[in-house]
């Protein structure tokens, strides 16, 4: 084949892709996604407040594990935190009804992200997903169809959007599932059925399927099914022929996880948001249904409006490409670190690694005054909440942060250069606890950075 022919085919493919991406589609799926997201977020934030977690997680602690580079993010005090949660809840509600949408979505994204950045003890992939999704929603014109903004300013109405705008939201969901699936393809998961081998047997008292929960084959079945589900569900949702069946799996799968594990709102969030894979007429029907029950009037637009290509759209498109490029790379950053990922957890977060390991630990800190030779132990509970202590015990970056905090604390008490060491034991997927860190290293002198932490001991299969 000549170069020309290749070039021509390349050109044809390119223009086909561009045509596909820019094809005008109904705004309804994006608008419904906005409503569902806003609604379920409103419920989640209200639930969080009612459970007393604002106080427990953001007021009560004396010390917070900030993210590297975000040390300036601080809790705002009791009144401040409740106001912030109130603002986030209100903006979720405004997103749902589509009122002052851009401001509300931006406030939600910033407020929620700020809360999440306060303390990495509270990191959950679910929360990261909410941050990322609200970032996308903030950029997309999800309020220009069936919203109070359109009711206020009918000129805003937008009946059609280029397909890539909806694809962005769908792609984000696809990233979550597929990366979660890839992460599940590990030896412990597939060939030892971990951690389900530990997590399922406690459910033997449940009705009907309970008695099977301690059968090894059930743990293997769940492990393999979970991995396959995550890897392929999006493809089945995307295809018309398999969509309904796949959605049935979505509902059953997430309800099962909600029933078996303490994972809060996440299953319900996913059950609702995966509806975005359904075709436009489904969403139109949903909108008509909501109109009927709320007594809303059908606005008959004078003319059908669609989005004309523009410079700002190109910027948005560029931003999205950048966003997904980052999303694609970040989960693989762990390859830059030596050692076993589940053990060191270097490059573990922000990668959709969910339900992958049963890990627990205990860490004792020691402080020594080199000037006088005197030494003592730290009672972690004097500074940390039980939840913080538990999360820290298995995560080296948090252990280091706490060690630095202790160094500062003892400096204030008059010890010029306190030596802080940690004796730490961790058990991973039923391995039995073994030494986690080099107990001779002065953590006060170890810098916080993204560089590999050389004081993490290697995971030894049979110590």
């Amino acid at each position: 084949m000549s170069n020309k022919a290749i070039n021509y085919e390349w050109f044809m493919l390119n223009s086909l892709i561009i045509k596909h991406l820019t094809f005008s589609i109904s705004t309804a799926p994006l608008a419904v996604f906005r409503m569902l997201f806003g609604g379920v977020m409103f419920a989640s934030v209200v639930r969080f407040i009612l459970k007393g977690w604002v106080y427990e997680l953001y007021v009560q602690p004396k010390f917070y594990f900030t993210y590297y580079g975000f040390q300036w993010v601080k809790p705002l005090g009791e009144a401040g935190m409740y106001i912030l949660f109130g603002v986030v809840a209100l903006s979720a509600f405004l997103m749902m009804i589509g009122l002052f949408y851009r401001v509300a979505a931006a406030l939600f994204f910033l407020g929620f992200t700020y809360i999440e950045l306060i303390d990495k003890s509270n990191y959950l992939n679910h929360y990261y997903f909410i941050t990322v999704t609200s970032f996308l929603l903030m950029l997309l014109p999800a309020h220009r169809y069936f919203s109070l903004d359109v009711w206020r300013k009918p000129a805003l109405q937008l009946d059609y959007i280029p397909r890539w705008m909806l694809l962005a939201v769908q792609a984000q969901l696809a990233f979550v599932y597929i990366f979660a699936g890839i992460a599940k393809l590990n030896y412990d998961g597939l060939f030892r059925a971990m951690p389900l081998r530990i997590w399922l047997p406690p459910h033997t008292h449940q009705p009907i399927i309970g008695p099977f929960m301690d059968e090894p084959w059930v743990a293997y079945l769940f492990s393999w099914f979970g991995a396959m589900y995550d890897l392929f569900i999006v493809f089945f949702l995307a295809k018309k022929q398999t969509r309904l069946m796949a959605y049935g799996f979505v509902v059953v799968f997430h309800l099962m996880t909600a029933w078996l594990f303490p994972i809060g709102m996440f299953p319900y969030i996913m059950i609702l948001l995966t509806l975005v894979f359904f075709p436009a007429d489904f969403h139109e029907k949903m909108i008509r249904f909501i109109r009927r029950i709320t007594g809303g009037k059908q606005l008959v637009p004078l003319q059908v409006r669609s989005l004309k290509p523009s410079f700002s759209q190109n910027i948005l498109l560029g931003l999205l490409v950048l966003h997904f490029a980052v999303q694609l790379v970040v989960p693989f950053r762990y390859l830059l670190y030596p050692g076993r990922l589940f053990w060191t957890e270097q490059g573990y977060r922000f990668s959709w690694r969910v339900m992958l390991m049963e890990k627990a630990g205990t860490v004792f800190f020691y402080v020594k005054d080199p000037a006088s030779g005197r030494q003592g132990e730290v009672v972690n509970a004097d500074f940390l909440t039980p939840n913080q202590e538990k999360m820290m015990a298995t995560q080296p970056d948090m252990i280091l942060q706490f060690a630095h905090f202790l160094a500062g604390h003892y400096r204030q008490q008059g010890i010029a250069s306190p030596v802080i060491t940690a004796e730490s034991y961790v058990t991973l997927n039923g391995s039995g606890s073994r030494l986690f860190l080099d107990g001779t290293v002065d953590l006060a002198k170890q810098p916080e950075s993204f560089a590999p932490k050389t004081w993490i001991l290697p995971f030894i299969e049979h110590p």
Binding site: F236, P386, N387
Partner: protein, 373 residues
């Protein structure tokens, strides 16, 4: 259709894989453990009798205090002191069970926040009015405060007696002592009643909450067992030894400082923790316990079993604790080496009980409710 094919392919693959890797790795089979039997044994044969015994001892303490107050005499004081010692010892057998009724009554904080604040106690006495329910009064009541009032207000029985007879604040002190003793009795009655079959029958609630989540009975039991164990590690032994103060001992911070029975109480408490672990009742009958669960799960630690590691650690720790002599404060001042050795063994136990055991059992170790990932 496609999805069906996919699923059945996965199923087939999984099933095909099973027998082969099962044989190779020699992993344990079906755990098949009856958690209800465990909870029934611990609830009916350990917790319930412990509360009954504790209630009886607090009744006697309250009566003895009443008699002593009605007619302050050296014999009355000595009787009250003895009944106090009995009740404090009986308390060690219920301190672990801080969930359900006990959690509601804040038994641990109300009964055993030590060291007691002598200045708060004396301020309350001289003020004559006080609210024992406030958080700030936690270290001015309960056993540590009684310990001070009955043993620490004078250097000998004669001197203590004068505090309740001729002292300017004698009447107020009598009232305070009576109020503290009464509070212990009232709270204990409530908890005991809540557990008993004729009362709230919490035993039944305990037995039927079978899961391993934070709110389940096993979850609470394992969490509180650890909390209780760390009371031995830190407030009872470590802090008086000076672990938090760079080695500067604080002997007067021991439990039961004035009556001088700290070591004995610590031995009783670790005995109770071991009993809960083994499912062993007061008479020594060994029923279903956490140990049986770990054995069934074939939990490992190093090359051996986790159960063996825990049992031998209990045994070493108890041996070291038996070398402690009362008054412990005195021993910390003059001969701290055996106390240090005991502390080191208690310390080792934390890892096994707090990390290995809950992880093997699938119990979340947290005293807070929270969403997971």
């Amino acid at each position: 259709m496609q999805i069906k094919l996919g699923i059945s392919a996965v199923l087939l693959l999984a099933v095909a894989f099973l027998p082969s890797c099962e044989e190779k790795s020699k992993e344990p089979g079906k755990a098949d453990f009856d958690r209800k039997a465990l909870l029934t044994n611990i609830g009916a044969n350990i917790i319930l009798p412990a509360y009954q015994a504790f209630k009886a001892s607090t009744d006697e303490l309250n009566n003895a205090v009443g008699q002593f107050m009605a007619n302050p005499s050296e014999a009355g004081l000595s009787n009250a002191q003895n009944k106090f010692k009995d009740a404090y010892k009986a308390y060690q057998a219920i301190s672990l069970f801080e969930f359900g009724p006990a959690e509601q009554e804040l038994i641990r904080a109300s009964f055993n926040t030590f060291p007691a604040s002598v200045s708060k106690i004396n301020n309350n006495i001289s003020a004559g009015t006080y609210d024992l329910n406030t958080a700030s009064n936690l270290d001015a009541k309960g056993f540590p405060a009684l310990d001070y009032l009955l043993f620490g207000t004078g250097s000998n029985a004669q001197a203590i007696l004068t505090q309740y007879t001729t002292d300017a604040n004698a009447a107020k002190r009598k009232k305070y002592l009576t109020d503290l003793s009464q509070e212990i009795k009232t709270k204990t009655d409530k908890v005991n009643n809540a557990w008993s079959a004729s009362g709230g029958n919490y035993l039944n609630t305990f037995i039927t909450a079978e899961g391993t989540d934070v709110g389940s009975s096993l979850g609470q039991l394992v969490n509180q067992l650890n909390f209780d164990y760390e009371i031995i590690k830190n407030p009872k032994v470590g802090i008086p030894l000076g672990i938090k103060t760079l080695g500067t001992a604080i002997p007067e911070n021991v439990e039961a400082y004035y009556s001088g029975m700290s070591a004995e109480l610590t031995r009783l408490q670790i005995g109770n923790i071991e009993n809960v672990y083994l499912g062993r009742d007061k008479q020594g009958a060994n029923g279903v316990g956490l140990d049986d669960y770990l054995i069934k799960l074939d939990a490992k630690r190093g090359e051996g079993s986790l159960h063996d590691a825990i049992t031998s650690q209990f045994s070493v720790t108890k041996t070291k604790l038996s070398a402690l002599a009362d008054p412990l404060a005195q021993m910390i001042r003059t001969n701290p080496a055996p106390v240090n050795e005991a502390y080191n063994e208690v310390h080792k136990g934390v890892v096994l009980l707090k990390t290995d055991m809950p992880s093997a059992l699938g119990v979340l170790i947290t005293y807070q409710d929270n969403d997971g990932d």
